[in-house]
């Protein structure tokens, strides 16, 4: 029976100090690894005997403007369909140099998910076949979901911000 403890044990055996901050919020095993280690961890989880995490559930990014040097987090969520187990791991990267290796070679799903993370947060996925904006117009020059940008379009004239409580 595959459980969170077995996975954590196998990960620490293989990677040692490179995987840390193990937690289990609401039952899902979560850990952090170094930025350059993400593909190795994903490959290990997918290929190694007995683990079988062959399904990339989700890939997203989060912006923490207060953690200087580690502002952008890329969150990967993997799943083992047969055992019904989910696992989540994060890599942190600097906002001035947000390079992360692309997971497109391992999972085809990662293609558009990484484009979305690039579009919204500006994470640069090294090795991605087609890293261009996916949701917003191509001429947009900023990454809208970062915390410093407002929600509303500041050039709109028909809505009075006082009345809307902004």
């Amino acid at each position: 029976m595959l459980t969170n403890e077995i996975i954590q044990q196998q990960l620490t055996e293989k990677f040692g100090a490179l995987v840390y901050n193990f937690e289990e919020p609401y039952g899902m095993l979560t850990f952090v690894t170094d930025r350059d280690n993400n593909l190795k961890v994903m490959n290990f989880l997918k290929e190694s005997e007995g683990l079988g995490f062959n399904f990339l559930n989700d890939l997203t990014a989060v912006h923490y403007p207060d953690q200087i040097g580690k502002e952008l987090a890329v969150v990967y969520m993997l799943q083992n369909i047969q055992a019904g187990l989910r696992i989540r791991f994060k890599v942190f990267t600097d906002i001035t140099n947000p390079d992360v290796f692309t997971a497109t070679g391992i999972f085809e799903t990662a293609n558009w998910l990484e484009r979305e993370a690039y579009d919204f947060f500006g994470v640069n996925f090294v090795g991605h076949p087609n890293l261009i904006r996916i949701m917003n117009v191509e001429e947009m020059d900023y990454h809208p979901l970062r915390k410093e940008y407002p929600l509303e379009d500041q050039t709109r004239i028909d809505k009075d911000d006082d009345m809307f409580g902004r």
Partner: protein, 405 residues
């Protein structure tokens, strides 16, 4: 009154042998706004480049500025053919965050609503496959049945399509006698009508020849692309969130998960058809189970998150304080990160919520199934003809609101 239009052709386009066809954002089959630029050699498709984002409404950014109870109308507009499932999924995510326990009756009522909306979603998809092969009758016929489902939603929450149904902790009001009568009426009328719909399509020779062997995908490629839901089950893998990670009392119900073999359009149609029958059986079981439970229970006892009755707010002090705290956002919402998923009409609809204890989420990300499996579309249609590509697109049940969020 028309103006001269400057059409700029891309580089080298006049010299090449293949044609570039723009299956543009305005589709003639009301599927939704996404664009495919196809490279064609005569009638065969050689390559396809999809473009999305034509209805990007920035849900994830809006969610960072709204309190938890105001995000429900936002989730409605993801997969708008089956909005109650999205609403329930969001409520369950927040209930997981605050460790709320729901009474059985609330869970079973939620199951009834979710299965009704699953039927509505699959009805639209199956009839639109018919429309794309030229059979308009099934579509018109099916919408008459959807009106019955709309009436049930209207009786429970007041709205037909984008329902904003339920609250964090249960429902906003108890289901009335009329709602149960409408559900019973629906259960008595629907099977006969569904059989007529099936006789129209299931063994129809033209439909079978148009859809068998078209738009298939292998099971390993489907897993690699992240398929979930009926599209994955049509390839042979029986992954259903309702059985793998049960929620809202699904473990108490007896239902089977239909599975196909080749993953082509005909298999997807049959899987959705079979799921409609399973949903009918689940709703019948739920209605029977509810008769044994206390009929006055329609929400959990979590006064910190569930708005009190208005009559109490005007007369009792605690209710007034709770009302004030909830609306102004002074309640103590725990900080943490939670991921919860439900079986939507198209697959695993996931909600990844990071809360920092404030009034709005710190980050809310929707794992949208349509967005994830639309990436596989170019690989599925490579080498097929244009008419097959159109039928494949409609069988994948691509809802634009879910692709772009």
């Amino acid at each position: 009154m028309s103006q001269k239009q400057n059409i700029q052709l891309p580089e080298g386009s006049l010299g090449k042998q293949t044609t570039t066809l723009n299956l543009g954002p305005t589709h003639p089959a009301t599927h939704g706004v996404f664009q495919n630029i196809l490279e064609m050699d005569g009638e065969r498709i050689i390559d396809a480049v999809p473009t999305i984002g034509f209805i990007h409404r920035a849900f994830e950014k809006i969610a960072e500025h709204r309190p938890y109870y105001q995000i429900t109308p936002l989730t409605d507009r993801l997969n708008y053919c089956s909005s109650p499932i999205n609403n329930m999924g969001w409520h369950m995510t927040v209930e997981k965050l605050i460790h709320a326990e729901l009474p059985k009756r609330v869970e079973y009522l939620r199951v009834i609503i979710m299965e009704l909306s699953r039927i509505a979603d699959h009805l639209v998809c199956n009839s639109v496959i018919g429309v794309d092969t030229g059979a308009f009758t099934g579509f018109i016929y099916v919408f008459e049945l959807r009106e019955l489902i709309y009436e049930i939603f209207e009786e429970v929450c007041g709205s037909r399509l984008t329902t904003n149904i339920g609250r964090i902790g249960g429902f906003e009001r108890n289901f009335s006698e009329l709602a149960f009568q409408k559900i019973d009426h629906f259960l008595s009328v629907f099977p006969k009508a569904m059989k007529e719909f099936e006789t129209l399509f299931n063994r129809n020779r033209i439909f079978m020849e148009r859809t068998m062997g078209v738009g298939g995908i292998a099971a390993e490629r489907a897993l690699n692309y992240g398929f979930t839901g009926p599209n994955l089950r049509a390839t042979g893998i029986d992954y259903d969130i309702r059985t793998a990670h049960p929620y809202s009392g699904y473990q108490d119900f007896d239902f089977s998960v239909p599975v196909g073999t080749t993953g082509d359009v005909y298999d997807r149609y049959l899987v959705r058809n079979a799921e409609i029958w399973e949903s009918i059986s689940i709703i019948t079981q739920a209605v029977k189970k509810i008769k044994d439970l206390d009929p006055s229970v329609f929400h959990a006892d979590i006064p910190d998150f569930y708005l009190p009755e208005k009559a109490d707010v005007y007369s009792k002090m605690e209710a007034l304080i709770y009302h004030f705290k909830i609306v102004m956002g002074e309640t103590a919402i725990p900080a943490g990160e939670v991921y919860h998923s439900v079986e939507g009409g198209n697959g695993e609809l996931g909600f990844y919520l990071i809360s920092d204890g404030g009034r709005s989420p710190y980050r809310l990300h929707f794992r949208r199934p349509c967005f994830i499996y639309y990436q596989a579309y170019p690989e599925i249609i490579k080498g097929s003809m244009l008419s097959d590509a159109v039928v494949t697109m409609s069988s994948l049940n691509l809802i634009a609101g879910e692709i772009d969020a």
